[in-house]
C-alpha cells in the first residue's frame, strides 16, 4: 500500500537536492572557463564537424569503400585523360607543324630564288625598276607567297629588329597578307632570325587579326627567315599557320573526356555504394540481431535469401542463434526444475513437520511426567525443531529469490522506526551477551521507500550477528542519509573478519568459524537472504572486518524505489578501524574494562599514532553520546611518556569510536605488537577487506 500523499514530499526533496547540485556544478564550470577556455571552446566548435565526419568515416565501412573507390577512379580518369589528350595533341598538332615547316621551307627557297634572280637581272640591267623599292618588292613577294594558301596561312614581311612594329623605322613598313597583324610575330623569334640570317626558325604564337575580323586571336605557328633583298637591305619573311581548328578539336576531345571522366567517377562511386550495400546490409542486420539476442530476444533470426556467401553468413548466424537459444532454454529449464524442486521439497516438508512439531510440543509440555532422559530428549527435540523450522523457512525464502518470485512491497518508512524495533527485539540477546546496542544518528528522520518486512529482517540478522560475534563488546548501529541514499551500519568490536572473509560471509551456509559455539542457532542462510533483500531494493549490503578488530556491515538503499545510489552516506571502513587509527592489525588495541560505566579512559602507549586527517574524536561512533568519551589529557600523557608524538590529539584519534556506551577502552602495551616499519612491510596483513556482498549478476539473470 503505497501512499501517494507520502510519496510526493520525498520526491520533491530529492528534486530539490538535484537542483541544488546542478547549480553548484554549473557554477564551477563557469569559473573554470577563462579567456583561454573561450578560445578552446571556439576551437572545439570548429573541430566538431570534422570530428563528426571522421567519426562517421571510421564507423561506416560503406562510406570508406565509396570514398576510396571515388578517389581511385578520379586518379584513373585523370591519368587516362592526360595520356589521351597528349596523344591527340601529338597526332593533330605535330602533323600540322611538320606540314607547316615543309610548306615554309619550300616558300623560303622560292623567295631566295627570286631574290637571286632579281639580283642577276639587276646585274645584267634587265631588272624591273621597282626592284630597288623595297616596299613594292616586299608587297609583291608577300602576295606571291600568300597566293597559293590563302586560307591555310598568312605571310608577313618586315624589317629586322624587335619591339613594336613602327612603320618606316628601318626604312619600310611591314607588309602582310590578309587581315593578320604584324604583332602576331613574337620578338624572341625575330631576334633569333636576326642572329642567324638565312636559317629558318619557328615558334608557337598567338595570331592577332584585324579588329574587323571574326576571329580576333587564335593559336598558331610562326616560321620565319631573314633574307638580304635585291636592294641589299635585310628583311624578314614569316609564315604564320593558324592552329585554331586543331585547338578546337583538341578542346572538344578534352571536354568530352572530362565529361566522360566525371560520369565514370560518379558511376564508380555509385557502383561501389551499391556493391558495398549488398555486403554491409546483412552485416548490419547481423549486428542488430546479435544485439537483440544479447538483450534476451532469443527468437530473433536473420532473413536468408539465396545461397551466396551472405546467405551462408545468415544461415551460420541463425544456426548459432538456434544453438544458443537451445542451450539457454535448456539451462533455464534445468534451473526452473531445480528451483521448483527446492520449493516443492520445502512445501512438502511442511506438512510432516507440522505433525512432528505438534507432537513434540505436546510431549514437551508434559515433560514433567516423563523420566529425566525422555524429558531431556523432548527438550532437545523442541530446540532442534525450532532450528529445523527456521532453516526450512530460510531455504524457502532463498528458493523464492532464486525463482525470481520475490516481490518488493515498498512504502515510505522512517528507518529509525525499524532500527528501533530491531534493537528492542535484540535486547534479550544483548543482555545475555553482556553487550549494549547503541543507535547513532543525527536525529533526523531517515525516510526511504522500502519493504519494511525485508529491511527489518536484514537488520535483525546484522544485529544478531554482531551480538553473536561481538565478544560481549558493544554494538553500534549507525544511520545516515545523503545523495538519494540511506544507510544503516552495524559495527561490532568482536572477533572480526579475516582477510577475504568479507566476501564469503554472504555465501550460503558459510560459517566464520565452524568450531564456534552458536547460541542462537542461525541457519547459515541469513546473510545470503539479507543480500538478496538488499538487491531487491536496488541496494548494497557490504561487509568490512579486521581480525580481532570487529566488523562493520553497511546496508545502503536508494531513497526512492528504483532509485540509483551514487555513493553511500558513510564509509564502509569505520573511522575507528585499526588502519585508520594507525594501529597494527594484529595488535590488541582495546579491551573492555570492568571499571564503572560512565567514564572512558584510553591511551596509547609506546606507539605513535598516525592521525588521519582531522583526528578522530569528532566523527567516531563514540562521540556525542552523553559525553562518554572523556579523554583526560593528563592521563594520556602519563601513559605515553616517551612517545615521539606524545600529544593528546593523537590519543583522540585512537579513542574515537569505541567509547560509545561508556565501555571502557584501554590499550595494553603488548610487547609483541608489530612496529610501524613492520606494518609497512606487510601490507597484506591489513585486515580491512571491502567487498560487496554477492554477485549482482545473479539478480539480473532472473527475468
Amino acid at each position: 500500500m503505497t501512499d501517494r500523499a507520502d510519496e510526493t514530499p520525498s520526491g520533491t526533496a530529492t528534486d530539490g537536492a538535484g537542483a541544488v547540485r546542478g547549480d553548484v556544478l554549473s557554477s564551477t564550470t563557469r569559473r573554470r572557463r577563462g579567456p583561454s577556455g573561450l578560445i578552446g571552446l571556439v576551437k572545439r566548435q570548429l573541430r566538431r564537424p570534422t570530428h563528426r565526419v571522421t567519426a562517421l568515416y571510421r564507423r561506416s565501412i560503406q562510406l570508406r569503400v565509396v570514398a576510396v573507390s571515388l578517389l581511385a577512379s578520379i586518379a584513373v580518369v585523370l591519368v587516362l585523360g592526360v595520356v589521351v589528350v597528349a596523344q591527340v595533341r601529338t597526332g593533330l598538332l605535330d602533323t600540322k607543324m611538320d606540314a607547316a615547316r615543309a610548306q615554309a621551307r619550300i616558300g623560303f627557297q622560292v623567295e631566295q630564288k627570286k631574290i637571286d634572280e632579281a639580283r642577276d637581272q639587276k646585274l645584267r640591267g634587265t631588272a624591273d625598276p621597282t626592284v630597288d623599292e623595297t616596299g613594292t618588292w616586299l608587297l609583291r613577294q608577300v602576295n606571291d607567297l600568300a597566293g597559293s594558301g590563302q586560307t591555310v596561312y598568312s605571310v608577313i614581311a618586315m624589317a629586322p629588329g624587335t619591339g613594336a612594329v613602327v612603320p618606316d623605322t628601318g626604312g619600310f613598313a611591314p607588309r602582310y597578307s590578309g587581315d593578320i597583324q604584324p604583332s602576331s610575330i613574337p620578338d624572341t623569334l625575330r631576334a633569333k632570325l636576326m642572329s642567324e640570317p638565312g636559317q629558318m626558325f619557328d615558334q608557337p604564337t598567338r595570331i592577332h587579326r584585324a579588329p574587323e575580323s571574326s576571329v580576333k586571336s587564335e593559336p598558331g605557328l610562326a616560321l620565319g627567315m631573314q633574307f638580304v633583298g635585291p636592294a641589299g637591305n635585310s628583311y624578314q619573311m614569316f609564315y604564320v599557320f593558324s592552329f585554331g581548328q586543331e585547338t578546337d578539336t583538341l578542346n572538344l576531345v578534352t571536354g568530352t573526356l572530362a565529361t566522360a571522366g566525371v560520369f565514370v567517377v560518379i558511376l564508380m562511386g555509385g557502383i561501389a555504394w551499391v556493391v558495398v550495400r549488398q555486403v554491409v546490409t546483412p552485416v548490419r542486420m547481423a549486428a542488430g540481431i546479435s544485439e537483440r539476442l544479447a538483450d534476451g530476444h532469443l527468437e530473433e533470426r536473420m532473413k536468408v535469401t539465396g545461397t551466396d556467401d551472405i546467405a551462408r553468413l545468415g544461415e551460420s548466424f541463425n544456426r548459432m542463434a538456434n544453438a544458443l537459444q537451445a542451450q539457454i532454454r535448456q539451462l533455464e529449464e534445468l534451473s526452473r526444475v531445480q528451483r521448483r524442486f527446492v520449493s516443492d521439497v520445502s512445501h512438502e516438508l511442511r506438512t510432516p513437520l507440522t505433525t512432528v512439531r505438534m507432537a513434540a510440543d505436546l510431549i514437551y509440555d508434559s515433560r514433567e511426567d516423563l523420566d529425566p532422559m525422555a524429558a531431556r530428549s523432548a527438550e532437545l527435540l523442541q530446540g532442534q525443531l525450532d532450528r529445523f523450522e527456521s532453516l526450512l523457512a530460510d531455504l524457502l525464502e532463498i528458493s523464492r529469490f532464486d525463482a525470481g518470485a520475490a516481490i518488493l512491497d515498498a512504502e515510505p518508512v522512517d528507518l529509525r522506526e525499524i532500527v528501533g524495533r530491531v534493537v528492542e527485539a535484540a535486547e534479550p540477546l544483548a543482555e545475555a551477551k553482556g553487550s549494549a546496542v547503541v543507535i547513532r544518528g543525527d536525529g533526523e528522520p531517515v525516510l526511504a521507500e522500502v519493504d519494511s518486512r525485508r529491511i527489518e529482517r536484514i537488520l535483525r540478522n546484522l544485529v544478531v550477528n554482531a551480538l553473536e560475534h561481538g565478544e560481549g563488546r558493544d554494538v553500534v548501529v549507525r544511520l545516515g542519509s545523503a545523495d538519494g541514499a540511506v544507510a544503516v551500519g552495524v559495527r561490532d568490536y568482536g572477533i572480526g573478519l579475516k582477510p577475504g572473509e568479507a566476501s564469503r560471509v554472504f555465501h550460503r551456509f558459510w560459517r566464520a568459524d565452524p568450531s564456534r559455539v552458536r547460541t542462537t542457532g542461525g541457519t547459515g542462510l541469513g546473510l545470503s537472504i539479507a543480500v538478496e533483500d538488499a538487491h531487491l531494493h536496488g541496494g548494497w549490503l557490504q561487509a568490512w572486518g579486521e581480525p580481532g578488530g570487529g566488523s562493520h556491515f553497511r546496508l545502503t538503499l536508494p531513497r526512492t524505489r528504483g532509485g540509483e545510489i551514487s555513493r553511500a552516506p558513510f564509509r564502509l571502513e569505520p573511522e575507528d578501524s585499526r588502519n585508520n587509527r594507525g594501529l597494527g592489525t594484529y595488535g590488541m588495541p582495546y579491551r573492555r574494562a570492568i571499571s564503572p560505566v560512565g567514564s572512558t579512559a584510553m591511551a596509547v602507549a609506546e606507539e605513535p599514532t598516525e592521525a588521519p586527517d582531522g583526528g578522530g574524536a569528532g566523527f567516531g561512533f563514540g562521540s556525542g553520546l552523553g559525553g562518554v568519551l572523556n579523554i583526560g589529557p593528563g592521563l594520556g600523557r602519563s601513559r605515553m611518556p616517551e612517545g615521539p608524538r606524545s600529544d593528546p590529539s593523537d590519543v583522540r584519534t585512537a579513542g574515537a569510536g569505541y567509547g560509545a556506551t561508556g565501555a571502557q577502552v584501554m590499550v595494553d602495551p603488548t610487547p609483541g605488537r608489530p612496529s610501524v616499519a613492520q606494518r609497512t612491510a606487510e601490507p597484506d596483513m591489513t585486515g580491512g577487506t571491502d567487498v560487496e556482498g554477492s554477485q549482482r549478476a545473479r539478480d539480473e539473470q532472473q527475468d
Binding site: 512445501h347 506438512t351 513437520l353 507440522t354 505438534m358 510440543d361 505436546l362 523464492r400
Partner: protein
Amino acid sequence: MKGRVLVVDDDSALAEMLGIVLRGEGFEPFFVADGDKALAAFRETKPDLVLLDLMLPGRDGIDVCRQIRAESGIPIVMLTAKTDTVDVVVGLESGADDYVTKPFKPKELVARVRARLRRAEEPTPEQLTIGDLVIDVAGHSVKRDGRGIPLTPLEFDLLVALARKPWQVFTREVLLEQVWGYRHAADTRLVNVHVQRLRSKIEKDPERPEIVVTVRGVGYKAGPS
C-alpha cells in the same frame, strides 16, 4: 464451550495430531480427508468451525472453501504451506476468515480457533447505523431499507467494529487486533481482502465505497451516516 471443529485434511497423521490437540483443548473434532466429501461432511456434522487444508486431493481447498461459504457463514481457518501473497490472497478471497501457515505451533492454532469461536458470547442489545445500513448487533443482522444483507460473522464483526466508532480511523493493525484477535501486528493482507469482500456485499458501488471508506496511508473508517 464445546466447539465442533471439522478438520479437512488429507494427511492422516496431521489430522490425527490435530485431533489430539483439539481434543486436549476441549474441542470436538470431526475429520474428512477428501475434498469431494468435505461438503457432505460439513452438512452432516454442522461444525462451529472448519479447519481446511488448501492442498487436497480431489476438489482443492479453495473450491471447498467457496462451497461451504456459499451455504454458511461459519468461520473457516485455512491451513497452508504456501506463504506467497498470491496463495494467501486467493484463499482469503475464496471465503476463509483466517489462515495458519505450516508449520504452526499447537498453541498458535488453538489461539486462532478460539479467536474465531469467541464471538457470540457477548449478546449486548445494540442498534448501530452506518451509512444507510442498520445493524442489529445482538440479532446479528444488517439491513438496508428493511432488507437483510447476509454477512459472515467475521464480516459482521468487521463492520460492527467500524460502526461502533464512526469518528475513528482504524489502522489495519488495530483491526487485526480487534476483529481477528492478533496480539501482535501480523499480516495486513487479511484486512485488505476482507474489507473488499465486505464492500462487495454492502456497498452500492464497491468501486466507490461510501460505508467503509479508505483513509489513504492510514487505514479505514466508517462512512458518514
